[in-house]
Symmetry: C2
Subunit: 335 residues, 2 copies
């Protein structure tokens, strides 16, 4: 197995990326293909002793967060993400991991690697931190802006396979994001999607509201990409705002500082629990290959986890399993 | 001026509701009309000395959160919210305030009081707590599930009038909730709404992402009711989850408890800042009368603020001003 890692993507590139990729190689048997400028990456690999399991594929351009994704993917043909996606398309690697521009990641997946046959739209599927449990898979978190009920059905099936085969959840519970729990709630798309999901061969548990999602009682939450993106950013924004405000209050005066010092051991796990960068990678499901997006602020450990996650995707044959599950769906009625 | 207050709506009814309504009457010159069971409300009003500025209109039924809203509004004709809405429709009061079932509140507004002419869809407009500033008006937070671009335009205009005339913001900044700041971002509805809002006679500042919203740099954020409802519940859920987890950590052991005790004065304002019940009422804009919904968990102060807010609506003639602003819009092209 060979996994390509975008050495220039993310806030802490290239050092944290390279270090995380090397850690993943050490814990496994696959080969890591670092995609980035050979000249500056080579010195970072000196005396790693990974005996041929680290390679570099030269790519000198980078797509930054200021680039317009689709345009950048077309024009920056020597960028790390485009070079990595081409390695995947031509079968030279089995998976691609990046912490770079999310839009470019999705565009490279869609336009270079391509969709799985009979998947109409791919979906970005990050893991949302929850109070209890191991997080919930949210899809689509923004790969497609206008979703049809049939797209949500496919998201439910893909999310269920991902949760069971990569995240190792037994019989993953799949819910539909909605404004209330009753079947009749929601907009036209969710009302129709409810019935499609109910008939699908997954453990569909009905509608879920955004605030219940954080309790961690379901494994997968399905929604259109616009709503999913707003939800993800709202949760992340609120977690960040809360942390920042708390910190301000902790430093307000001497009394508070002493209090905060006493609380430090107890609060150590707290901060980590809602740190989105800790929650590994978000796969782009529905693409004819394994693509995993790590959070832009990923450090070494998060990158290592993202690479190991990509390896599990490949081992379990998730792409093939999605292909098969979707092919088994009854044919769509023409509307 | 006469303002009806639903004495049976909300988690702390009737005591906190009655107490808050009386406080509002004390701080003002209007008459408060308590709508609820006369027999049990009368004893609560003994020796209030508000000299005729408190009345009771008898209503013995209550629509609970377990009732299906539209059905309950049709069937429970002697419920507090239906009786109050009828008082508004027939001009016996100038505004209605409730902390009860949100769905029933919206249904009563739409079906009993009715829409303003040329407003296609009303919008629920709560104030979202922000880190800096005085909160941001979010609309629609769930009155309508399927919005057209023209609805979002009307939300922007109504939100701007509300922010300026009731919340006293000078030249309120209006933004469109979206998945990115560029004009080309979003789904079909936001892409078209962007152009409509840009041409409207309001201070439209472009797209805003959910996480930026918490910085408090705009006054009004416009979105469809499905997304708005998800966003509101996500933010509220995250704030609640964060607080609950923090409390757990504070009580973990003796060392943490001492730390928490030292931090108490500093954290007092913190908790209040993200308490959604503190942020007054959410008006249902676009209805031919003033309806204000307070948070279900509202205590005395929040009810008082909601009633005073309703009074400001009436004083400023907001319903009339919305009517006029919308009538001035260029006629829609037939699609």
């Amino acid at each position: 197995m060979r996994i390509a890692v975008d050495a220039l993507g993310g806030d802490h590139a290239p050092h944290a990326i390279v270090a995380g990729a090397l850690d993943a190689a050490r814990e496994s048997n696959f080969t890591v293909v670092l995609v980035g400028p050979k000249a500056s990456l080579s010195p970072l690999l000196k005396s790693e002793g990974l005996a041929g399991r680290i390679e570099i594929v030269d790519a000198t351009e980078v797509i930054t967060n200021d680039d317009a994704p689709s345009m950048a993917v077309r024009r920056k043909t020597n960028s790390t993400i485009v070079v990595a996606a081409n390695l995947l398309r031509t079968g030279q690697v089995d998976a691609v991991v990046t912490a770079g521009n999310t839009g470019a990641f999705m565009a490279a997946g869609l336009f270079i690697v391509g969709r799985i046959k009979s998947i109409d739209r791919p979906a970005l599927a990050p893991l949302i931190p929850t109070r209890q449990g191991r997080g919930v898979v949210l899809l689509d978190a923004g790969a497609n802006m206008d979703s049809k009920p049939e797209n949500l059905l496919q998201y439910g099936i893909m999310g269920s396979i991902y949760a069971s085969q990569v995240l190792r959840r037994d019989n993953p519970k799949v819910a539909l994001l909605n404004v209330g729990t009753e079947e009749s709630k929601g907009n036209q798309v969710t009302k129709e999607a409810y019935h499609l999901l109910k008939s699908a061969d997954i453990d569909f548990v009905g509608n879920i509201e955004a605030r219940e999602l954080l309790h961690g009682e379901v494994d997968v939450v399905v929604c259109d990409g616009f709503t999913g993106n707003v939800l993800l950013k709202a949760l992340e924004g609120m977690a960040h705002t809360f942390s920042a405000m708390l910190k301000e209050h902790f430093l307000r005066d001497l009394r508070s500082k002493i209090g905060a010092l006493l609380l430090r051991p107890s609060l150590r796990g707290f901060k980590k629990q809602f740190d989105y960068a800790e929650y590994g990678g978000a796969p782009l499901l529905g693409i004819n290959g394994v693509l995993v997006k790590c959070h832009g602020s990923s450090q070494q450990v998060a990158i290592k986890n993202g690479v190991l996650q990509a390896a599990r995707f490949v081992e379990r044959g998730v792409v093939h399993n999605i292909q098969r599950a979707v092919a088994e769906l009854p044919p769509k009625e023409k509307g």
